[in-house]
Amino acid sequence: MTKQKLTNFTLSITCLIVGLIIMFPVIYATSLSFMDSSEITQYPPKLISSSPTLDNYKEAFETVPLMRFMTNSLVMSVGITVGQIITASLAAFAFVFFEFRFKKILFLMVLSTMMIPGEVTIISNFLTISSWGWNDTLHVLIIPFMTSAMGIFLIRQYYLTVPKELLEAARIDGCTNFKFFIKILLPISTPVIASLSIYSFIGAWNQYLWPLLTINDTANRTVQIGITMLQSESASKAVILAGSIIISIPTIIAFVIGQRLLVEGMTSGAVKG
């Protein structure tokens, strides 16, 4: 028993140290964001400020409309996430539980989109949305990303582990396919949906090139471009760090909540034999 305790203690300490190493860039940047401009450029580098100041945060909010950028990014990220989950689940449902003509070709088409980087099509897409007059709108940030081959692929991998007999049994009980999808398949696939949601949300928040090209109006800018603006308008690196930390807070919160959902999803939806 004591040996077990010792092992657990060693393991806990190892986990803690490894965790701190992984998080180090964030901790370090947070610490630097409280330093004034002379302290941040000191040598040897200081880890903790001797006279912490909030001035950098104040300056970040004063230089650019950060709250507006965050709202825009939030609308964009939620829109993309919800859209992707709906469309990807429906597509994966068709691919796993049905046999139909051109299924293989259609699935290959989905996979092929994964091999076409956004940067290949971005020039042409930019011309398309410009011709529709979609520049400087929020929906231009959402609609092109409302489905994802990776999402379809991940959900499909998960559905493949669901026995086909489940659908047959549901049909014998008079359940339509769509009702089976809503009432049975979606609830048991919470683990994969949770992990896709986190991934899509972060990915959307992370988007950089597309918002840069499509949005010129400051009012519709997203946080990533906001940070770029901060870099061009502020001289101090500490202000950029302060701004970077502010725009990371929503994703960190979303991520911690999302992770809890993920764990719950895993315990409720895990293999029950």
Binding site: L11, S12, C15, L16, V18, I22, V26, A29, Y43, P45, T87, L90, A94, F98, E99, F100, L106, M109, S112, T113, M114, M115, P117, E119, V120, T121, I122, I123, S124, T128, I143, P144, M146, T147, A149, I152, Q157, T161, E168, R171, N177, S195, Y199, I202, W205, Y208, L209, V223, Q224, I227, T228, S244, I247, S248, T251, A254, F255, Q259, A270, G273
Partner: protein
């Protein structure tokens, strides 16, 4: 025996009804489920892709409008350009420097977190936190650490490495940031995989006296292989597409040392206005990724255990 013969017969005569499942359904139903995804794919992936092929065979003006048909001349120019070969080499280096280290690190982290310790959730959050950070703030954080004169990395190493301005180190620096950004996703993915291994299985081999290495070899490794495969695949594809951190950290430099294909495409189109060159490069990138993906799917059948 009978089943085998039926299968053979159905293959030989191509009687499709024998291979069909027992579930009967309206013939249009599965297509309806695909409609939402395919509207988006057709409008924002396939159409612009075909348009990219079209543009690559023309010359363009500075606003991307096509002018004269030149056939394959843009591709011929590309394959005669040393800068383009440099870009391809860098892309492959970059992909290798990311996909395997990040999956390996994430797997070790997932094994570390796969225990029943108190506060395990806290460790999990710490291990996966980089996933919550976007590339622009991550770039801001790391560029402080990479600072030549008072960055923490050089201070710890006792060096004065010009991480972002020395061609020998810039790609390493960009790779470190990219690996860091991708660890979180890989960790979560592999953790879910480890969690889905039935506890009874692990308990029963523990009772039989299996040590950790044996459990690792005979339980964790084979049962995690589907997730492992998927996560390596996602990382390879993802590193081919990496852009933000390169743009913000090095802008493809110094001396083209981090000018991966995707950055080169961006530069040709939006910096030099050579849209036709960008489109031709984009198609080469597409072909490379296609080959890699086909190889991976072939490989999947050999290593992955689905049951």
């Amino acid at each position: 025996m009978y089943a085998q013969e039926t299968l053979k017969a159905s293959k030989a005569s191509k009687v499709k009804s024998l291979a069909k499942p027992k579930i009967k359904l309206s013939p249009v139903e599965p297509y309806l489920y695909l409609v939402p995804s395919f509207i988006i794919f057709i409008t924002f992936v396939f159409y612009p892709f075909i348009n990219t092929i079209y543009v690559s065979m023309y010359t363009t003006d500075l606003r991307g409008r096509v002018k004269d048909f030149v056939g394959l001349q843009n591709f011929i120019d590309l394959f005669n350009s040393p800068a383009f070969y440099n870009s391809i080499t860098i892309t492959f280096k970059f992909v290798l420097m990311i996909a395997f280290p990040s999956v390996l690190i994430a797997f070790i982290l997932a094994l570390l977190a796969n225990n029943k310790l108190k506060g395990n959730r806290i460790y999990e959050t710490m291990f996966s936190l980089p996933m919550a950070i976007a590339s622009a703030p991550a770039t801001a954080f790391w560029s402080m650490a990479f600072n030549q004169t008072n960055g923490i990395i050089n201070y710890v190493l006792g060096q004065e490495i010009q991480w972002l301005t020395n061609p020998d180190y810039a790609l390493i620096a960009v790779s470190i940031v990219t690996v860091w950004l991708s660890i979180g996703f890989n960790f979560i993915f592999l953790t879910v995989g480890l969690r889905n291994i039935p506890t009874e299985l692990i308990e029963s081999v523990s009772i039989d006296g299996a040590n950790y290495l044996q459990k690792f070899r005979y339980i964790y490794l084979p049962l995690i292989s589907p997730q492992m495969f998927v996560v390596v695949f996602i990382n390879v594809i993802g590193s081919f597409q990496a852009f933000g951190q390169i743009k913000l950290l090095t802008e493809g430099g110094p001396g083209d040392s981090t000018n991966v294909l995707v950055y080169s495409i961006y530069q040709e189109a939006f910096k030099y206005g050579r849209f036709e060159v960008a489109c031709a490069q984009a198609l080469v990138l597409f072909v490379i990724m296609l080959c890699v993906t086909l190889l991976q799917f072939k490989f999947e059948k050999k290593v992955v255990h689905y049951d």
